[in-house]
Symmetry: none
Subunit: 143 residues, 4 copies
């Protein structure tokens, strides 16, 4: 574990940008966005908190500065964070709610696609519900 300047203290709730990987599916900037949304949405990154600078985060994640910049821009466009010229980047007041809302919307979208594929594969509603229940139990156990 590497401690960096933007982790303020040895608090178990401290802010850690989740790891990203060029091997993972999806572009790097999207992985950064998702990671920050998760941290904000689940309350580990509270409103008003300063995010690491472009340069610092780029260095930590070993990605281009432009990649971090793009992620922050997208998050600002969604209202989850806001950049103050010369001061830094901060989690917005409504950041947590917006993050959760974004995840809810994304979930509905994915779910709609999943159900369409399922019904087209010939699965009945009962079978689909059963599959969802099983998956939820698996998730449970993983936590």
């Amino acid at each position: 574990m590497v401690y960096t300047h933007y982790m303020l203290s040895p608090d178990p709730q401290r802010f850690v940008i989740p790891p990203i990987s060029s091997a993972a599916p999806g572009p790097l900037y999207q992985q950064i966005i998702d990671g920050i949304k998760r941290e904000v949405g689940e309350g580990r990154l509270r409103p008003g908190t300063a995010l690491p600078s472009f340069r610092a985060l780029a260095e930590d994640l070993m990605v281009s500065l432009i990649t971090v910049k793009r992620a922050y821009e997208d998050l600002e466009r969604e209202g989850i964070i806001h950049c103050k010229q010369g001061l830094g980047t901060f989690v917005s007041e409504k950041g947590a709610e917006l993050s959760r809302q974004a995840k809810r919307d994304q979930a509905r979208l994915l779910l709609r696609q999943a159900l369409r594929e399922s019904t087209e594969s010939g699965a009945t509603n009962a079978e689909i519900i059963k599959m969802v229940r099983e998956m939820l139990e698996q998730h449970q156990e993983e936590d």
Copy 2:
């Protein structure tokens, strides 16, 4: 609706490649793949049936011959259709089962993502199940 030579007659089971659009999300060739998988998986395109030639389908869908070719190649690699030089392209014997299996796999993948987003958004298992039920009822009505 354009009737072409490979649509045999006013048969309600006739073969119609679903429409595609460059405005729709996802590459054109993927839309073609998905459309044919759906037709094969749901039994409207039966094993042994000849698909339209690259050139014919390209003309109908108003896309490049190469885009159709790419879609057919991918479908052949999945074993759903098979191309015979000089003869044409045909639905494979196990095409229907493979199509449904592919849709099942895709559905599980999307569902897993949807559930992860849902739980991260703070939804409880009960709420998720409720959302799934509601969506399934909506689907029902659309049909």
Copy 3:
């Protein structure tokens, strides 16, 4: 089993062109060539015997006349059969030996490729010999 005019009698050694299929790998004309070579090489089609006419064979195999023509041309080029204008097509005197020789050559070619792939996959000579023995036993049982 369909009896056709070129099968001269209910002799278990009678001449039967093996079935071909557009689903099988390889072009149709090659399947015809291979089938005739096998019949000639294994003595079921003896020197001097007349082969079916282009038209008759094309009809039986349900392929284009041009496809049969091409197969016969290739076989004549190899010296296995010879066409007498107006009389028909006949198995050559040295047809059997030439067929077996062609198969031997083809076998050596395939074997060389197989051994190269095997060694590149990391298999030792002993493992390769073992695989060959096992395959030969399987063949045995099938016969």
Copy 4:
């Protein structure tokens, strides 16, 4: 021999895409695929290593960019390499094992064909084994 930027130095283990030729049997893209599979399977191209870009390799091999692209796409579909937009193309973690497995499968296929041709040519099992042994010794000497 042309030295290019992706060949790291006069290291005997250096990465060299094998030469291809339009005179050789088989399509160019297949030759590229086979060459890379061999390099990966035999450990000269290790997991994580970056392959040359489409454009660079196309220039070196003097083929179209598209031909290289097609080869890379096929290799990615087999799981041997993976392409990341904007980053490049890399040997996958399981690339070596998958390459060897692909070669083993291909070898079995060719061997089965070779044995069938051999037995049809009238060769006995003993003769076939003898031929295999001789060929293996020849290979030995070539190395």
